[in-house]
Symmetry: C2
Subunit: 344 residues, 2 copies
């Protein structure tokens, strides 16, 4: 049932069958990123021999390393990459990996980045505990920062990620979830780590407050736009093209921007029908909802919202010194914006 559902829906938004090409914009930091990657893989040595295999599996994921790349670009833009920023990149990625492991447990997801998830491979118990271990390890690495305010901000962001997830869980099947509340939740659960990536990279370079603030705004806007894109992907994407379990949001009552926007446009009679289909419908009913969402411009609205955030991100960097990396950060926001154009 789930499989046929996933086969039909992408026809609605054929463009969502391929990965965004934004990854190529991270190329300038490729050498630093390889250092970060090597260091992430080396972390398994710090664990008990009985669990290094699992840590290696988690670390070897072929993820985009988007957060580390942003740490490195923000560092370059504000004076250069020092050892502490490599540490920061490792720490934010480990927290991200830990949160993905727990997410996959809670979503019962079987595939992530074209590989079996840890829970599919080794079960729920191991996955919950391994997420905890990675989490503890990341926060231990934080103690290397001379300025305790850096560790505090990272731990805060980790807390925010989980809190955002809890708030989202609480609002499942809540047809009254407003767009601002949705945006606040995704700013917590996703943008928090993007925000500390760019902000703290600048702070570690002792950049002036105005630049630190700008990079904070930049990270927040990129992260929020990224989550909107990811939520569209879950609704309209093709599982084969992305190597992860999709289509879980509607099934679990997680109402995301395209759906929320549509719900808010409906007259009371239609709203009642769609609500009924959301709450008690089967896969066919859910597919009908998605067709309705597209007809009523829910996906267009969402793409546009993400683009607004990317414009904000781009503009926020006007206060940065104009150098190659400031340009690259702005180019990244613009390229992401342009790719989203293609989804309209």
């Amino acid at each position: 049932m789930a499989a046929s559902f996933m086969k039909k829906v992408p026809l609605l938004m054929p463009k969502l069958q391929k990965q965004l090409a934004i990854k190529s914009y991270l190329e300038p930091v490729r050498p630093d990123l390889e250092r970060v990657d090597a260091r992430i893989r080396a972390q398994s040595d710090a664990f008990d021999p009985g669990i290094t295999g699992y840590v290696e599996y988690a670390a070897e994921s072929s993820g985009k390393r988007l957060r580390p790349a942003l740490v490195l670009m923000a560092a370059h833009a504000t004076g250069g990459v020092r050892e502490e920023q490599i540490d920061l990149a490792v720490v934010v990625e480990l927290i991200h990996l830990a949160s993905l492991i727990h997410d996959d447990v809670l979503d019962n997801a079987e595939v992530r980045r074209a590989r079996p998830t840890m829970n599919a491979k080794w079960g729920v118990e191991l996955s919950v505990l391994l997420g905890d271990c990675l989490f503890a390890h990341a926060l231990k690495l934080c103690t290397r920062f001379e300025d305790a305010a850096i560790s505090r901000a990272v731990a805060d962001a980790a807390n925010e990620v989980c809190t955002g997830e809890i708030l989202q869980t609480q609002r499942r099947y809540d047809l009254n979830l407003s767009v601002p509340d949705y945006l606040r939740i995704i700013s917590m659960k996703t943008a928090a780590l993007f925000r500390v990536s760019t902000e703290l990279a600048a702070r570690l370079n002792r950049a002036p407050g105005i630049m630190v603030d700008a990079l904070r705004i930049y990270g927040d806007a990129i992260g929020t736009a990224y989550q909107i894109y990811d939520d569209c992907l879950d609704l309209f994407g093709s599982e084969a093209g992305f190597g992860k379990t999709l289509g879980t949001d509607l099934k679990k009552g997680k109402l995301t921007l395209p759906v929320l926007h549509t719900l808010q446009q409906l007259n009371p009679a239609d709203l009642a029908k769609v609500s009924e289909a959301l709450l008690h419908g089967n896969a066919d009913d859910h597919e009908a909802i998605l067709r309705r969402v597209v007809e009523m411009g829910g996906h267009l609205y969402s793409v546009r919202k993400a683009q607004e955030l990317l414009e904000k991100a781009d503009k926020s960097l006007e206060v940065l010194p104009s150098n190659d990396y400031t340009t690259r950060l702005r180019d990244f926001a613009r390229a992401f914006h342009k790719e989203l154009d293609g989804l309209k």
Copy 2:
């Protein structure tokens, strides 16, 4: 089935129907403990309003606060309780609470300290995420310590707790698990937090290395003995008397000291029978195993092993200055020892 199982087995060890009275030995630090308790409750203010209710529920548990009490006693014994040790007590208890929340999820436990567990009340998703939040918050509080080595040791201990749990999960149904391996696992999953409680309390007072080491040995021995007692409780205790879900270890193939000791005494034919009952048996078969364990002295051996550790704990403190609190720490080990005598 489980219920009748739990009613019959305590007859084997009637003494395990009441809580140990060791709590009274923590009375001297009651006023400090109340400060710690108030501060633990106040932590909920640091969380998003959407989740403070859950944090309060977790914080309001009527636990013994054994780890904070040990922090405070070790601090008193080595010069007095300063603000940093109150923080340490809060941090170790929060990590403990977070790990209990995840344990209850993984054990599917419904009752803890005579109240519904978080997963029984609010489900698995919320419980996993709330555990993560508490964990992140505890490690954030660690950044208050001036000496980063303190936070590092706490994060290490948190990692060790989860690693110990993973190792235990890996060895389920492993009839070849040796007693030293079992002891190593419980030293990680339980004693690690006891160890940092006493060790770091002394380090924060800049106590001489020999005293810090002694308190580390003390905490490790007390924590390991406590887990052996707790494992006996799960096998032989009465659910009504302890207000928590018991009898899950055997059902989940978690082989603990009384059972391991018995397995290692059996001749091959009996071992094959008991193994079959362990792997594929029902509640009656498990009860028969427990009778066998008692007959073959598995519980006596375990009680004795815990007592040896308590003797080691007592003796380790000989190098401490003789003052009221050193005496109280030693009395605590001795009282625990004496209570275990009653279980023979």
